[in-house]
């Protein structure tokens, strides 16, 4: 057992080529990187030579959890799944993030993370019951969906085991594939890495404990403090409608109110009024069903809110839709956010909030989550519908195949179309299957039409790295644009978007922003952006650092951090040191808040170093940190930095890069990590390696 609380002290390594199963000392090797993505980047840096392709046996697939995973620190069952990515067109590494209960269970089984390497010579699954780890034959599971796989493994391991599995999509090397656990929690982009390793699933069951080093009484006070400052999903700090207890209301996901129901609970439950002080009603604050499916339909068909272990927010609406049974799937379905619109997007504009849309969306997620296919934040299906409507598909797909698709069902918005199209997707059947399976970035090579569209959008606005204009400049101006250019897939950086999504009025956000970023100038109103300034660079750095910490500790970046709070008495300021406080209390490692911020920066900088080494570039600014033309050109007649648009300016964005690189401690001209910066972050070995490759400035 480790000297610290939080960690269990051992990281599991499984070599599928040799069948060797071993344990490593987590503290000794990985403590400086916490766990999660941090641990994974360390593994990728140390062990995977540049040039390794995502599906090569040499690639590592890391299921990363951290010191906070499984504990009462809120929302602590996130799993960072990290590997070189089949979705990225340059084979750069990326992380997918999976919730559920699997991560916590892994910790209870005694493991701080799992590193998978090699390739099994036949389909296998991994069984982990505390110390007992076995590679098992998966012949009977292969070619089955995720649901059946999960059930059959639970028949062996017990109903309280948790299973992360791939479906047919991962097996068939569909790039846009997921790894999923617990019925509806998936991480995107790495299903095919598991498939390439012949690894069908990982079942986990644990009986052990995680030590909390803080005195239980003080620990309880800290947990209560963290709950007290919590808002609702996606950082909401004010209710969406006027409430008797609230000073403000605004655009937010704190949408419950008097007369709001989980209408399919038996009997129905009124979610009602939930004040910021009532900690025993936090779970009703976000009526995600109403948010995702519209107020009327969402309420009527919602059984309850669901979600991850340790999370009181609950972002997964669990639905009961009797109409689904005629299609041969369960009436009980669930998903969240874009997962909930996956099925709808194969059709031309079904009206959101309609019954028709609900059935399409829930049948879509029933099929997608069994096959294990990934929505990629909806961009892919925007492209698909565009290609259909503009006869791009007709042009490129062999006519025999094109005629075999049941387009008439699509035109009639018949849900049965999903069985046709999603099977092609999951089995990568023909040209249409390949279109969907390979994802947006790869699309540009085969379909030149998209190259232009992705650059100039705007409705199809896509980064070459495969994400659309989401939480980018359209929401956060230069801050969003900088965050979006940093990662190797869509960053899903909610530490920034949650600040915007708090629903607080601008003047309050500016007051809070002044405390957080040193200046209120860092904060702009929506579609009312100002030119770049230093505060925005601080904002972007902090957003990324907190995301890296959440993904490594692990906590949920979908709803945290605690930058704001829902309390007037605090001026709506939260407690940005909360992550540090939780870490100290759980592990007993008494680091300062500044050291914690440096740890986040260390993780990000290692990410950056791997990216540079993989690309073999000395200039990330030029070669990696791309921004698309649509950011600067749309709307055509708009003037940047005037109210009503999110148009950016090219020169201003060059300044933004300068200020951001400086803030991150990178070389201003090239955006590369520097020797001094790397050494300050205790990454001297990384500096030495980059130097050897002449990749350091």
């Amino acid at each position: 057992m480790s000297d610290f609380g939080g960690w269990r002290g051992k990281t599991l390594r499984v070599d599928l080529s040799t069948g060797k199963i071993s344990a490593e000392d987590t503290i000794e090797k990985y403590m400086n990187f916490l766990g999660g993505t941090g641990l994974a980047y360390k593994v990728l840096w140390d062990e995977v030579p540049p040039g390794t392709k995502p599906w090569d046996p040499e690639n590592r697939l890391i299921f990363g959890i951290g010191p906070l995973t499984g504990t009462g620190a809120l929302m602590s069952s996130r799993v960072s799944i990290t590997s070189f990515s089949p979705v990225n067109y340059m084979d750069l590494h990326s992380d997918g993030h999976m919730g559920g209960h699997w991560g916590a269970e892994l910790k209870f089984a005694g493991w701080d993370s799992i590193i998978i390497q090699g390739k099994a010579d036949r389909p296998v699954w991994l069984s982990i019951e505390d110390d007992k780890v076995q590679i098992r034959d998966a012949a009977h599971l292969w070619r089955n969906g995720i649901f059946r796989t999960t059930v059959e493994i639970c028949e062996e391991m017990g109903p309280d085991a948790h299973v992360a599995a791939i479906g047919q999509a991962g097996e068939n090397l569909v790039r846009m594939s997921t790894i999923m656990c617990d019925r509806s929690h998936s991480g995107g982009g790495h299903g095919s890495v598991m498939g390439a390793k012949n690894l069908k699933a990982i079942g986990v069951r644990g009986s052990g404990s995680i030590r909390i080093m803080e005195d239980p009484k003080k620990w309880k006070e800290l947990v209560q403090h963290s709950l007290h400052l919590l808002g609702a999903n996606s950082g909401a700090m004010v209710p969406a409608t006027p409430q008797p207890w609230a000073e403000y209301y605004g655009r937010s996901r704190w949408n419950t109110r008097k007369g709001f129901y989980w209408g399919s609970a038996s009997p129905p439950i009124e979610t009602g009024i939930c004040s910021a002080d009532d900690l025993n009603r936090i779970g009703y604050r976000t009526h995600k069903a109403a948010f995702d499916h519209g107020d009327e339909i969402g309420q009527r068909y919602c059984v309850r809110s669901g979600g991850c272990y340790g999370c009181p927010i609950k972002c997964h609406p669990l639905m009961e839709v009797p109409e689904l049974e005629q299609y041969g799937v369960s009436r009980f379905q669930s998903n969240t956010c874009v997962g909930n619109s996956f099925g709808m997007r194969f059709f031309e504009s079904p009206q959101r909030g309609s019954k028709e849309a609900l059935v399409l969306s829930q049948l879509g997620s029933a099929i997608a989550d069994d096959y294990g296919i990934w929505a990629g934040y909806g961009l892919l299906l925007n492209d698909f519908m565009h290609a259909y409507k503009n006869d791009i598909l007709k042009k490129h797909v062999p006519s025999k195949e094109y005629e075999s698709v049941k387009w008439d069902l699509m035109e009639k918005k018949d849900p049965r179309f999903l069985f046709d199209i999603m099977k092609r997707f999951a089995y990568r059947e023909g040209e249409i299957g390949a279109f969907l399976a390979d994802g947006a970035p790869m699309l540009e090579d085969k379909y030149p039409e998209f190259k232009d569209l992705h650059r100039h959008g705007p409705s199809l606005g896509c980064f070459k790295l495969g994400h659309r204009d989401h939480h980018g400049c359209n929401q956060l101006g230069q801050v969003g644009a900088l965050i979006n250019m940093f990662y190797n897939r869509d960053p899903m950086c909610h530490s920034a978007s949650n600040f915007d999504g708090s629903g607080l009025p601008l003047h309050v956000k500016k007051q809070v922003g002044e405390k957080l970023f040193g200046t209120s100038d860092a904060v702009d109103g929506r579609n009312d952006f100002t030119p770049m300034n230093h505060g925005k660079a601080v904002f972007a750095r902090m957003a990324l650092v907190y995301q890296a910490l959440h993904d490594s500790l692990t906590l949920c970046n979908y709803t945290l951090p605690w930058w704001c709070s829902p309390h007037k008495s605090r001026g709506y300021y939260g407690d940005p040191e909360m992550e540090t406080k939780l870490y100290r209390a759980i592990t007993g490692d008494q680091i300062s808040h500044q050291e914690m911020m440096d740890t986040g920066l260390r993780i990000l900088t290692l990410h950056r170093a791997i990216t540079a080494r993989t690309m073999n570039t000395k200039n990330l600014r030029r070669d990696h940190d791309l921004m698309n033309d649509w950011m600067f050109d749309n709307p055509k007649d708009a003037v940047p930095f005037t109210r009503g648009n999110s148009k950016m300016d090219r020169n201003d964005m060059e300044l933004a890069r300068d200020l951001f690189y400086e803030e991150m401690g990178y070389d201003k001209t090239t955006g590369m990590p520097t020797r001094v910066g790397l050494e300050r972050l205790k990454l001297g070995n990384v500096a030495a390696d980059l130097e050897k490759r002449s990749l350091i400035v």
Binding site: K217, K220, V223, A265, N280, R304, P312
Partner: protein, 266 residues
């Protein structure tokens, strides 16, 4: 079980009793580690009766007196508990913060396997496990219901207490919860085997059995629930309506206990 009207106004936090009559300490300790001290202060008269004057009198007496059964004494508990944690599966969101609170605030560690409230084991497939097929059962793979298992604080005959060969299970005021005295318990797990509801676990790290003690009247699980799906209410006999999870052995641990039983059950 739950009043489904008037829910928005104030369902009441667990700190302000929504239901009259459940036994509570005068002042809530912020950590239940202080509960054992509280219990020592609260110990009242010994209201259990050792088969004095027949069953009828005994039961009346047990309801009347605040009773405490001390561990180590070879007797049968006739007193009913005074409070009970009740779960509402339609409100439960499956976050398991109750399990987390139960072990973090009472044991200083996170360990759902020894939590005295059990939600995780029903979370995916419900109490019947995987056998019912995916779409027809309870849980996340079934109808989405998340069923909370709580200790029923069984009435006489209390299976765990009767089974304990060390007499380590005692009835403690003010709640009359059936509590394991860890000074005496040696972790033999006879109580685990005899609980029909599978509510007792072995804490392997401390080598003792562990079960719900109602936190002296301020259950941590109830306080931690983010949807008010758990409530602390006056005790009622639910043993006949909550499905059993295991058949019990009917084992009575010592000769003295067996004789004591026979005074009534002859």
């Amino acid at each position: 079980m739950t009043n489904h009207q008037d829910l928005t106004e104030n369902r009441g936090s667990p700190f302000s009793p929504a239901v009259e009559g459940a036994e509570r300490p005068e002042k809530l300790e912020s950590s239940t580690l202080g509960v054992s001290a509280l219990l020592q202060r609260s110990v009242g008269r010994r209201g259990f009766l050792k088969a004095a004057g027949g069953v009828g009198t005994a039961l009346v007496g047990s309801l009347y007196f605040a009773g405490t059964l001390r561990a180590g004494e070879d007797v049968v508990a006739l007193d009913n508990a005074k409070g009970l944690v009740v779960g509402d599966p339609t409100r439960c969101v499956g976050c398991r913060r109750c399990e987390i609170a139960c072990t973090e605030f009472k044991d200083g560690k996170t360990q759902p396997a020894i939590s005295r409230i059990k939600v995780g084991r029903n979370y995916m497939f419900g109490p019947k496990g995987v056998q019912r097929g995916m779409w027809r059962g309870e849980g996340r793979f079934g109808n989405h219901r998340s069923i909370q298992d709580t200790c029923l604080q069984c009435p006489h005959p209390v299976p765990c207490l009767l089974a304990c060969p060390k007499n380590a299970i005692e009835v403690q005021g003010p709640t009359n919860a059936r509590v394991i005295n860890t000074e005496i318990c040696d972790g033999c797990a006879m109580c685990v085997a005899n609980c029909p509801f599978e509510m007792i676990s072995i804490d392997a790290e401390r080598e003792v059995a562990t079960k719900c003690d109602l936190c002296g009247g301020a259950p941590e699980c109830v306080q931690a629930c983010p949807t008010g799906a758990l409530r602390y209410v006056p005790w009622r006999n639910r043993t006949k309506e909550i499905p059993q999870r295991a058949s019990r052995w009917g084992f009575i641990g010592t000769q003295e206990k067996r004789e004591s039983c026979m005074e009534c059950h002859q």
